[in-house]
């Protein structure tokens, strides 16, 4: 039982991270109906720049924190203006998704160029001994991550359901022509969604680096995990992304613990395939709801 609890809690930890990255996925998807597959690279960027500001330049934690989010926001802004905006008019989602992959490779190269291939880490926000919980260990940083997820969820729920800007972003995703007719500047909404998702990804990077360290080439696998989490919960659903993240994290750790640690990454792809085959709308979204979104 103790060992199960340990696996479970490790799963919650990783799951919280996947959930945070998956949230960023959904912001872009909710606005543009495309996927930003450079999401994982922004997580890496967050971790590495936080190290640069906090450890190397020895700035205070909070200043480093905001500088890192600002950096991520600027990168995401440039990404959207230079690569997505010129091609948005083609209206071809596949083309745009491929562009985000190209940008992720570029960003990975840039990060390697700046930081080299070493892993980096820094002390967590909450230091001190891990907490013992019924014989299992849980790191204090995990509580910080959970708190940030809660804040992010509340922010996103409020933003998409209570503000006119969030509603306008949802309208863009559903029907760009009709959104234009409301006087909504589509290009500005797309830019905003990329900046927001870049910032949330970087936030995830800042939070997990003290636990797992960060190196330049971690982006792709994080993108895949977050994508699986989004599909599990249903693309576009905020609650789904959170639940999907936790389910994936826990499943990974149980499989790695009880069966074989080599299967840790495989389980994510297996779950992805099963979901896409059997219930592409996700565990928590009804097929009809998804159909309503698409026409």
């Amino acid at each position: 039982m103790e060992i199960f609890l340990q696996f479970f809690l490790s799963g919650v930890t990783v799951g919280a991270i996947y959930a945070l990255i998956a949230l960023g996925f959904n912001i872009v998807y909710n606005t543009t109906s495309i996927l930003n597959l450079a999401q994982g690279e922004f997580v890496v960027l967050g971790g590495l720049f936080m190290w640069l500001f906090f450890q190397k330049m020895e700035l205070p934690y909070y200043i480093s924190f905001f500088l890192t989010l600002l950096t991520a926001g600027i990168f995401a802004f440039l990404m959207e203006r230079l690569t997505i905006k010129p091609l948005l008019k083609t209206g071809d989602p596949l083309l745009l998704i491929l562009i985000t992959i190209a940008f992720s490779i570029l960003l990975k190269g840039l990060l390697m160029f700046i930081f080299g291939k070493d892993p980096y880490g820094y002390p967590p926000l909450l230091e001190g001994m891990p907490i013992l919980l019924g014989g299992a260990v849980i790191q204090k940083q995990v509580l910080v991550i959970l708190a940030f997820i809660l804040l992010t969820m509340i922010f996103l729920y409020f933003f998409f359901n209570k503000t006119i800007l969030g509603k306008a972003m949802k309208a863009c995703a559903f029907d760009q022509v009709a959104a234009q007719l409301m006087g909504i500047n589509i290009s500005r909404m797309v830019m905003l969604s990329f900046v927001l998702s870049g910032i949330f990804a970087a936030l995830a990077g800042i939070l997990i680096t003290p636990i797992t360290f960060m190196e330049y080439d971690r982006g792709a696998i994080l993108t895949i995990k977050a994508f699986t989490a989004s599909i599990l919960g249903g693309l576009g659903s905020i609650w789904g992304a959170i639940a999907g993240g936790f389910i994936l994290g826990i499943a990974e750790n149980l499989v790695a613990g009880y069966i074989h640690s080599g299967l840790k990454d495989a389980i994510s792809l297996v779950l992805l395939l099963i979901m896409l085959l059997l219930k592409p709308a996700g565990l928590f979204q009804k097929e009809e709801e998804v159909r309503l979104k698409k026409l």
Binding site: K167, A168, D175, A179, L181, E289
Partner: protein, 246 residues
């Protein structure tokens, strides 16, 4: 209020609108009649900016708006209810209406938006009833009413209506047209209307243009148009009466 001069529009090499010249006066309801494929919808789309024109000019309240993007034209007071309504189905009825006011919505105007929203609910009680339901589950006629109500939330000076009667039960069509007339009086806005239902649009409009294969072939006030034998034959013929039992 709105003046089009020598408007030319191409889709690829197809010449859709050929030197179209027309105008809409303040507070006027103008109808555009024409068969399928005459270019009526294209005309409205180029006025709002969804379709690029090759040559000509569009003046709105004395200002040339040729090169303005759609969202800026909406801000100036143009509003299009597109063919097929363009309702945001996954959003609630109320959110759809609020987005209608997007072009002038900000913190200073919050009270005004609320007031206009209540006014619109007063005009269209069916929307008030369903304000918190998803727009996608409304019936076709209710969605059309929502589309018009949403366009009104923009406080337009000129409302462009593309086939407001399409896909709607005939008794509802009449109701929608009565609304349009009432709204003109309430808000003193102008209306440019594209409609297949020639008889009805002649009845509510002040003036009419007839568009045929991209050219304006008739212009006149609606009453005289109704007595014009050419128009009677082409657009108000007995066959058409049988198709639209009104």
């Amino acid at each position: 209020m709105l003046i089009l001069r020598g408007l030319d529009v191409y889709y690829g090499s197809l010449h859709i609108l050929k030197k179209v010249t027309l105008h809409v006066n303040e507070g006027e309801i103008v109808a555009i009649l024409g068969a399928n494929g005459a270019g009526k919808s294209t005309l409205l789309k180029s006025i709002i900016g969804l379709v690029k024109m090759a040559s000509g000019s569009i003046l709105f309240q004395g200002r040339e708006i040729n090169s303005l993007p759609v969202e800026k034209r909406v801000r100036l007071g143009l509003s299009l209810v597109p063919e097929g309504k363009g309702i945001f189905k996954p959003l609630t009825v109320e959110d759809n209406l609020l987005l209608g006011a997007y072009s002038w919505y900000n913190f200073n105007h919050k009270g005004e938006v609320k007031a206009l929203l209540e006014e619109i609910y007063g005009l269209f009680p069916v929307l008030a009833e369903k304000r918190h339901q998803l727009a996608g589950i409304l019936s076709g006629g209710q969605q059309q009413i929502l589309a018009i109500a949403r366009a009104l939330m923009a406080k337009p000076k000129l409302l462009l209506l593309d086939e407001p009667s399409m896909g709607i039960a005939p008794n509802l069509v009449l109701e929608i047209f009565q609304h349009i007339k009432k709204l003109r009086e309430l808000y003193n806005m102008s209306v440019l209307l594209v409609e297949q239902n020639a008889k009805l649009s002649l009845k509510i409009s002040d003036r009419v243009y007839v568009l045929e294969t991209g050219k304006i072939i008739f212009e006149g006030d609606s009453k005289s148009a109704m007595e014009n034998p050419e128009i009677q034959r082409a657009y108000l013929g007995r066959d058409l009466d049988r198709e639209v039992p009104l």
